[in-house]
């Protein structure tokens, strides 16, 4: 991988997650260099979201280590200070913009709270930065002062992105973050994410089953099936010349001009 200067910004080694007898993530390892972007793709139940939750600290891994910015985060944080530092290392934008915002907090209030917690700046500097972030994600003054209920899905997702960026994370996890957006808005948000990466050198971990979005935003791709990596490599190579049957199946399922859906073998067990 090119463009690295030393240690990766995020590194997972031998990651495993069990829920009772069920192994949902099995021996996953990857390295994400600064400013690069990684896609994790796979069908429902492949373990994509569980990996995201472990990286962000919402689930402790059963085994394995996660290191972000040189700090181990495989175990729960033991102090507020530790937890805040982790917040500055990794942030996440969830899939559903309708449930991931506080319904009683305006966009400005949401961003301001993060700035106060993580940077401890005075009010004037926070105000300036809030305006900057709102501008960066394309929220106008009215929208910045509105409660989530009077914003559309696309606008809410921009608020969620601005909130995540306010902590100035080194890694931003996008868990199907553009999946629920209208096509014309999705293109705006994808362009925005590319601009932000150019400006801030943030690294993205994109979790998605939309391979066109994966192609647009990422350099490397991991293909997951039943918790295991079945294929990995540069995104262009994985999508143009998929080797594993699971990757080929994902690729063949994407609608495109001239595409005809085909019946495939159904899973017999639930």
């Amino acid at each position: 991988m090119a463009n690295t200067n030393g240690a990766p910004v995020l590194e997972a080694t031998g990651l495993r997650k069990e829920f009772g007898d069920l192994v949902v993530v099995d021996d996953i390892s990857f390295r994400l260099p600064l400013g690069r972007s990684l896609a994790i793709v796979g069908e429902s139940g492949a373990g994509k979201t569980t990996i995201a939750r472990m990286i962000v600290g919402l689930e402790p891994p059963t085994r394995g280590t996660i290191i972000a910015c040189g700090h181990d985060r495989s175990r729960p944080a033991r102090s507020t200070r530790d937890r805040r530092r982790r917040g500055r290392e990794v942030q996440i934008v969830f899939q559903d913009p309708y449930t991931s915002l506080d319904p009683r907090q305006t966009a400005e209030g949401t961003i301001d709270e993060v700035l106060r917690l993580h940077h401890g700046w005075p009010a004037s500097r926070r105000r300036a930065r809030t305006a900057e972030l709102a501008d960066l994600v394309g929220l106008d003054t009215r929208q910045s002062r509105a409660l989530p209920r009077s914003l559309s899905g696309g606008q809410r997702q921009r608020v969620a992105i601005a909130r995540a960026l306010a902590a100035e994370p080194a890694v931003l996890i996008l868990d199907e973050s553009v999946a629920s957006l209208d096509v014309s808005i999705q293109a705006q948000v994808l362009n925005l994410l590319a601009d932000i990466r150019d400006e801030t050198h943030v690294s993205y971990v994109l979790i998605s089953h939309d391979l066109a979005v994966v192609r647009q935003l990422t350099d490397e791709t991991l293909v997951l099936h039943c918790g295991k990596v079945v294929e990995r490599g540069p995104t262009a190579r994985v999508l143009d010349d998929p080797q594993h049957p699971c990757t080929q199946r994902l690729r063949a399922s994407a609608p495109r001009p001239g595409w005809k859906p085909r019946r495939q073998a159904l899973p017999t067990a639930e």
């Binding site: 069908e43 014309s184 362009n191 647009q216 994902l250 399922s253 859906p261 017999t268």
Partner: protein, 351 residues
Amino acid sequence: MNDPGRIQPTACTLESTRTAAGAPLLEVAGLTVLLEVDGAKRAVLRDVSLTVQQGEAVGLVGESGSGKSMTARAIDRLLPRGAEVQGSIRFGGADVNALAGADLRRYRNQVAMIFQDPRAHTNPVRRVGDFMTEALRTNLGVPAAEARRRAVDMLSQVGIEDGDRRLRQYPHQMSGGMLQRIMIAAALLTEPRLLLADEPTTALDVTTQAEVMAILDGLRRDFGLAMLFITHDLELAAAICDRTVVMYAGQVVEVRASTLLHTDPLHPYTAALAAARPDIGQTAHRLRAIPGRPLSAFEAPPGECAFAPRCAHAGDICRTAVPALIELDGGISRCALARELRGKLQEAASG
């Protein structure tokens, strides 16, 4: 705001909405729907006209607020209470808005709806078998044992072989893809003539989507069913529908044969929508995003083209009147500049 009195049915007079085969199975003409929101009447559909022929698959594509789901609801008589409906909906020659009681129930057996979220449209405390056979037993008077036999048979057609066991299960015991297959089987049980499929695969992942679409497409052809397929995905609609209707801000803006939709679009919005999607085959330096956001029907500026504020081709003519539907090369476009832009939209979008 929009003055509903100004909206005149137009497309019902267009010849291309009819074919030599005779009267269409479904004919929506000049459909305008107003809903009361906070005491004010708001238009959600404005002069929508479309036809579905016997056995034909028609895609209905649009973004949030375009009115595509509301059109399906109006057709299935599922509009919210207090909705004001103008224009006509005819199914097999009958006036749908005049149906009541037993006639309405009979109509709904012939027009089956498949919803986006199967979990929200099943009763979690009732077994799948009860739900699947309900319409057969109560509306068509089929004996319970016979209804179950038909249900098991239909389940095997959607690729579920252990139907007997599935009928005894509850919705929570199944995945979303499995449940959506059951919804399709349930919809087909009453032997409908038209399927209204409202984003039936949006909640599913991409491989399950391909399977469910293949099942839906295959069975539709086997049974000679007509389908109105509602989706936000232009590529998916184009792949499985004969014709595609594109909606924006509560209006139909384009009707086009699906095979021509990507290569020769007639409305700038259709071309822009196709161009905004990232390409699985290559990384674009920048995506051609459409500026602004999709408008709902009630937000559309009166007396001008609703898409004009976001349109790269808009001129003065677009801001002086709501464009009429014009016929062009077998398709229909609601763009005042459609003739001038013909053949240039695709280049402009991809160049």
